[in-house]
Amino acid sequence: MSEVILTDKKTPARKTTLGSKPRKRKRMTGDRWLALAFIAPSIILIAIFVYGFIGWTGYVSLSNWNSFLPDFSFAGFDNFLYIFKDFRFQADIRNTIFFTLFFIIAVVVLGMFLAIFIDQRLKGEAIFRNIFLFPMALSFVVTGVVWRWVLNPSSGVNLLLEHFGIHFKWYTSTAVYPSLHIGAIDFGIPAAVIALVIAATWQQTGFSLAMFLAGLRGIPEELKEAARIDGASEWQIFWRVILPQLKPIMFSVIIIMAHISLKIFDLIYTMTGPGANFVTDMPGVNMFETTFKSNFYAQGAAIAIVMLVLVAIFIVPYLIRSRKGDA
C-alpha cells in the first residue's frame, strides 16, 4: 500500500524507520516506559470506546431490550432472525448492495478519467481541479439538503429535462429492476438509489480524483516514453502502462468508498429518509430509527452488528495486508 504515499514527495525515507529500531530499545529503557505511558491512554480509550462498546452492542443485540426500559435477559439470536425476516431490513441490504456497487463504480471511473484529463497539462488545470474537489469540503447534510431539491421530481433538474420531454421520478420512484421476488422483497436495482448515487458521487469524486492525480504524477515519464517509442498508441499506453500503475490506488479508493457507503447515514437521512416502500432506506438509517425513534434497542443493536460485519469483511483483510506490505 505504501506506493500511494508518493503524494508526499518530501518523504522518501519511509521504510528505513522500521529496520533500524532494535538497537536503541535496550539502551533507553526508562524512555521506553515513558513512551508506553504516553500511548497508554489512547490505547485504553480505544479499548473501551471501540472494542468494549462493540462487545456491549453485541450483548444488547442478544438481549430482549426492545422497549425504552433496558432488559438484558437473553434472547439468543431472535433479534437477528427478526431483522433478517423483516421487509425493511431486506430492502436495506438490497439497497446497500446496489448503492455501494454503483457508487464505487461511479467514483472510481469518474475520478480516474477526470484525473487523466486534468493531468494533460491543461490551461486552467487548477480551476477544473477545484471545481471537482470542493464538494469534499461540504458535509453530507449540506449535500443532502441541496440534492433533495435539485432532484425533486416536481422541480429541480426535471424542469430543465422537461424541455426534452424527459421526466424522471428520481428518488420517489418505487420501481425495482428486474424485480425478482426473493424473501419478502422485490430484489433488483431500485431506481431511486440512482438519485442517491448521483448526490454521493458529486460529493466524493474529488477524493478519488485527488488520489488518482497523485498516482498519475508518480508514474515515471520514462515508462510512457518507452512505450511510445515502441509504437504503442495512447490507448495501449493507458491499458498497459498507466492502469497497472494505478491499481493499488484504485484498490484503496474502492476500500475507502465501500466503508463510507456501507455505513452511510447523514446523506440518506437528510435527502430522502427511508422512502416509499423503503427504496432509499439503508441499514444506517434503519438502525437509527429502530433504536432511537422506536426504542427497539436490541433490534437496532443487531442491525449495527450486521453493519459492522459487512464493513469488517472489507477492512480487516485490507488492514492486515497493509501491515504486511509495510513490514
Partner: protein, 426 residues
C-alpha cells in the same frame, strides 16, 4: 509553508472575530440552559416553533407572574415532529434523570412510562383542585390506569379531519364528502378536471397512516375501532379488510410525488390549488392560516368520510416523573396546566382546543368552537398514529406496513403484516 501559516493564522483571527461577534447575542440562550437542574423547573416538550412555542411561552409567563420565585426552564427539543424529543426523553428516563414534567401523548405513550414504574399518580392533585368531572371521561381513561391518574391533559387536537380548498370545490360545484361514496364521486370529478383529488405527504409515516386510521374509524365505527387496539377485535375482521380496500382505492387519487413531501407540503398543494383535499389532524389549520387563508372562506374542514359523531383525539398531557426534585413546585406548575386560565392561555395560540370542557369558548376561533362542541358530545377515540391507541412498537410496525402498502397495494400482505404486528398488543 510560511504563506500557508499566515493564512491559517488569518483564518483563526477571523474565527475569533466571529466568535466574539456572535458570542454576546449567544450568551443569553446558553446561560439559560445548562443541563444541571439548579432549582428551576425543567419543562420538557417538542413545542419549539410557531403557535405551540408561543402558547408555551404564554403559559410560562402566566406561571411566572403567579410564582415569581419559581424558575421555569423551557427544555423544548426541536426536530422530527417530536421524535427527537421522545428519544431524548427516553434516554433521560433510562438514566433516572427525568425533567420536572414532560409533554407526552395521552394513552399508550404515557402508559409506557407508567408501566415502567417511572410516574407518580396525580389523584391528590386532581382532588385538591376539584378537577373531577372537568375533563371528559374518555379522555381521563387515556391518562389513567387501575384507578390512578398519571397525566394532565392540556390540549386536544382532532385527527379525523378532511381539509379542502374551498375555491376548487365552489368552482366545480362540489360538496365536501360525508361518506366514502361521496369521496370517490368527488374525487372522480376532480380527477377528470385534472386536479389532484387528494394530497398526501408521506415522507414521514404520519401522512399515510393518518388516512388509514381515519378510514378504519369510518368503516368500523368508534366502538369496534377501539376494540382493535385492545386486542378484542382481530385484524381478520372483514371491516379491516374493507378499510384496506378503501384506503387502496383512495391511494389511486393522490399526488405522484407524495413520498418526497412532508404533511405541510401536502397542505401546500391544497393551499395553492394544485390539489383539492388533504386528510390530516387539525394542526393543519395553523398551516393554512399561516398562508393567510381564512377558515370557511379559503379553506374548509369536515370530518373524514363516515366519521361524523366520532372525535379522534390527539392529546398532549403532562405527567410527574418519580424522583423529581422540588416536587411541590412541580405540582404548582401542573396545577397551572390543568386550570382554565392555563388552558385558555395556551390553546388559542397553539390552535388546539382545551382538554377541559368548561373553558371560555369566546377565546377561540370559529373552527375551534365547532370542535369544542363536538368534543363535548362525540364518541372520543384514541389516535394510533399519535401514540394514544397502541404502544410505539406496534405503531412502528403499522407504519412499516402502511409504507409498503402505499406502493405495493397488496391487501392480503397488508392484513398479514398488521396481524403479525398485533401480536404485541397482548
Amino acid at each position: 509553508m510560511k504563506k500557508g501559516l499566515s493564512l491559517l493564522l488569518g483564518s483563526i483571527v477571523i474565527l475569533a472575530l466571529i466568535l466574539t461577534g456572535c458570542g454576546n447575542s449567544d450568551s443569553k440562550s446558553s446561560s439559560g440552559s445548562s443541563s444541571s437542574n439548579n432549582g428551576k423547573l425543567e419543562i420538557f416538550s417538542w413545542w419549539t416553533a410557531g403557535g405551540e412555542a408561543d402558547g408555551l411561552k404564554a403559559l410560562n409567563s402566566a406561571f411566572n407572574k403567579k410564582y415569581p420565585n419559581i424558575g421555569v426552564k423551557n427544555e423544548a427539543v426541536a426536530g422530527g415532529a417530536g421524535s427527537n424529543a421522545k428519544a431524548v426523553l427516553a434516554t433521560r428516563m433510562q438514566g433516572n434523570n427525568p425533567p420536572s414534567t414532560f409533554q407526552v401523548h395521552g394513552g399508550a405513550e404515557l402508559m409506557a412510562y407508567v408501566d415502567a414504574g417511572k410516574m407518580q399518580p396525580l389523584n391528590d392533585l386532581y382532588k385538591k383542585n376539584g378537577w373531577d368531572g372537568k375533563f371528559p371521561k374518555d379522555l381521563m381513561d387515556l391518562v389513567s390506569k387501575d384507578g390512578k391518574i398519571y397525566g394532565i391533559p392540556v390540549d386536544v387536537h382532532r385527527g379525523n379531519v378532511l381539509w379542502y380548498n374551498k375555491k376548487i370545490f365552489d368552482d366545480n360545484n362540489l360538496q365536501p364528502p360525508k361518506t366514502f361514496d361521496d369521496f370517490f364521486k368527488v374525487a372522480d370529478k376532480l380527477k377528470a378536471k385534472g386536479i389532484t383529488p387528494l394530497a398526501m405527504g408521506d415522507k414521514e409515516p404520519l401522512g399515510a397512516t393518518t388516512i388509514f386510521e381515519d378510514v378504519l374509524l369510518g368503516v368500523l365505527g368508534p366502538d369496534k375501532y377501539k376494540q382493535l387496539w385492545t386486542g378484542d377485535l382481530s385484524f381478520d375482521d372483514p371491516g379491516v379488510k374493507k378499510s384496506a380496500e378503501i384506503f387502496k382505492k383512495m391511494l389511486g387519487y393522490i399526488n405522484d410525488d407524495h413520498s418526497s413531501l412532508a404533511w405541510q407540503d401536502a397542505d401546500e398543494l391544497v393551499a395553492n390549488g394544485k390539489a383539492a383535499m388533504n386528510i390530516m389532524g387539525d394542526w393543519a389549520k395553523g398551516y393554512f392560516t399561516s398562508k393567510n387563508m381564512t377558515y370557511g372562506k379559503d379553506f374548509g374542514a369536515v370530518n373524514t368520510p363516515n366519521t361524523d359523531g366520532s372525535f379522534m383525539i390527539v392529546t398532549d398531557t403532562f405527567g410527574k416523573p418519580k424522583g423529581v426534585k422540588n416536587s411541590k413546585q412541580v405540582d404548582k406548575y401542573l396545577t397551572e396546566l390543568g386550570s382554565v386560565e392555563g388552558q385558555d392561555a395556551f390553546n388559542p395560540k397553539k390552535g388546539s382546543i382545551p382538554a377541559r370542557t368548561d373553558a371560555d369558548a369566546s377565546k377561540y376561533d370559529e373552527y375551534s368552537k365547532n370542535a369544542m362542541n363536538d368534543f363535548k358530545d362525540n364518541a372520543l377515540v384514541p389516535s394510533l398514529e399519535n401514540g394514544s391507541a397502541a404502544p410505539q412498537g406496534f405503531l412502528t410496525k403499522v407504519d412499516t406496513a402502511v409504507n409498503v402498502f402505499v406502493t405495493q397495494k397488496n391487501v392480503g400482505n397488508f392484513i398479514n403484516s398488521l396481524k403479525q404486528a398485533s401480536s404485541s398488543l397482548k
